[in-house]
Amino acid sequence: MQEVEVTKSLTSTMKKSTWKIPKSILYPSVTLLIILIIWEICGRLNLIDPFMFSWPSKIFTEAVAFFISAEVFTHLAVSGMEVGIGFAMALIGIPIGLAMGYWKNLELAFDPFVTALYTTPMIALTPLFVLWFGLDTLSKVMMVFALSIFPILINTMSGVKMTDPSLIKAARSYGASRGQMFKEVILPSAIPFIITGIRLAIGRALIAVVVAEMLAGNKGIGYAIRHASELFQTAQYLAYVAVLMVLSVLLTELLKLFEKKIAPWRNL
């Protein structure tokens, strides 16, 4: 313990003498800044055709415009609701995955189909979903659900199966019943896998909602992107893409915080 404290105080004195911002934030920020500057210079030197592409200051101006007009918020609200409902439904993959990981026969019966559905580019089903569930919210919700349930289900299942056998042995030795085994050993050991599944599912959910909105709809970020591109408003179009990018990074970071909260034993 003494050693640990010595190294702690050492690093803190080192920090004071050099940088206050941690490297994990500083380094990528510098990289990003350099890329943006070069990109911007290329734009200002007329190396970029504004019809084909755009550059940071133009994109930023467009973003400011749709934030001021609050247009972006109406689109975000619609897309957010669709993702929210579809994703909440997809969480049913957790209990299904737990069951399939626990009962070998269930896995044998359903695993090939789950794998097939997971690996199929289900985004190709969007037109069919529009046909079934209409041009409105429901078709998007169902697309989000269909794309995000499988990574959650599959990861939950492998989490259960990856439970360390020596922990199961220990629990058995200390007299765990079936239910206790599940609650005390299997579920907690599957949690990191469930979180990974959710992280993968977030990416797929965003793809689903954007593609579905692009294909059919008159609201939402996907629609806004399509609309801007049809009018050759390339800068505005890229500004919406940037909003999506920021959103998915935020969601992922939020999930990391959540994971730290519910799985503090993991060395993140």
Binding site: D164, S166, L167, A171, Y174, W265, N267
Partner: protein
């Protein structure tokens, strides 16, 4: 010692046979007609060449493994699976990574359905016993190997078993820490007057800790000899310098050498 002998044994096992994959071509006869009696307060080490079935024997005694034939009884009543009379300390610690030191030590008591407020004092007592005071809220990944096994030992003690089963508990711990742990375990055993069955492949460890050593043969595992270690407790690291201590080590080593040679001839080592 004579008084102890006349008492009924705390743990008795009779004609244990364990056969894996019985009736199949890959059948393995792991234990053959293993019988023995363990008395209260004894520190028994089981030693033998690798693959001799010592771990199998311990798992069977715990109830994790059902013997193919034979019986185990504790204080006269027959054993059918794990129960609160025996607790196990594992070679790979087997601590729940998502539980703090406190929760890991409380593990067995919680499984037995006891409320946290009822077990608190007991859990803290055993954490203190293994010298982990102040580490109650740490997670296993924040501890060294030696500290992890202290948690494992405290978890075993916390359920207050009649017999503590230890499956090569120090083999994953570095040499220096191991010697310290051996001394501490002895101290704790004397204080708590616990009966212990200890699996090891280290002759030195077996002689240092045990009141009696059970020697096992190569597969199929059988008990081939028992050696009483007549060195009074408490033992310290100075005990290891006694001529008697060295003699015991030599005797056991000679015996094991023969067994390992036999294993070589069978082409298994």
């Amino acid at each position: 010692m004579i008084i102890v002998k006349t008492k009924t044994p705390i743990l008795k096992f009779d004609n244990l046979n364990v056969i894996y994959n019985e009736g199949q071509p890959n059948q393995v006869h792991a234990l053959k007609n293993v019988s023995g009696e363990i008395h209260e307060g004894e520190f028994i080490s089981i030693i033998g060449p690798s693959g001799c079935g010592k771990s199998t024997l311990l798992h069977t005694l715990d109830g994790l493994l059902k013997p193919t034939s034979g019986t185990i009884s504790i204080n006269g009543s027959e054993v059918h699976g794990p129960d609160e009379n025996r607790a196990m300390v594992f070679q790979d610690f087997a601590l729940m990574p998502w539980q703090t030191v406190y929760d890991n030590v409380a593990f067995g008591l919680r499984l037995a359905g006891k409320k946290d407020k009822d077990i608190r004092d007991k859990v803290l007592h055993y954490i203190k016993m293994v010298g982990l005071e102040g580490f109650e809220h740490k997670y296993p990944h924040q501890l060294s190997g030696g500290m992890k096994q202290r948690v494992g030992i405290a978890r075993g003690f916390a359920v207050e078993p009649k017999v503590l089963l230890m499956d090569e508990p120090f083999s994953a711990i570095d040499e220096q820490t191991r010697e310290i742990m051996q001394e501490e375990v002895l101290k704790i055993m004397l204080n708590e007057k616990k009966t212990v069955i200890f699996i090891t492949h280290s002759i030195d460890e077996a002689v240092f800790l045990s009141s009696r050593i059970i020697l096992m043969s190569v597969r199929p595992g059988q008990i081939v000899d028992e050696i009483k270690i007549d060195i009074p407790y408490p033992r310290t690291l100075e005990t290891k310098a006694l001529p008697k201590y060295q003699e015991y080590k030599q005797t056991i080593w000679d015996h094991l050498k023969g067994e390992v040679r036999r294993q070589y001839k069978k082409g298994e080592a």
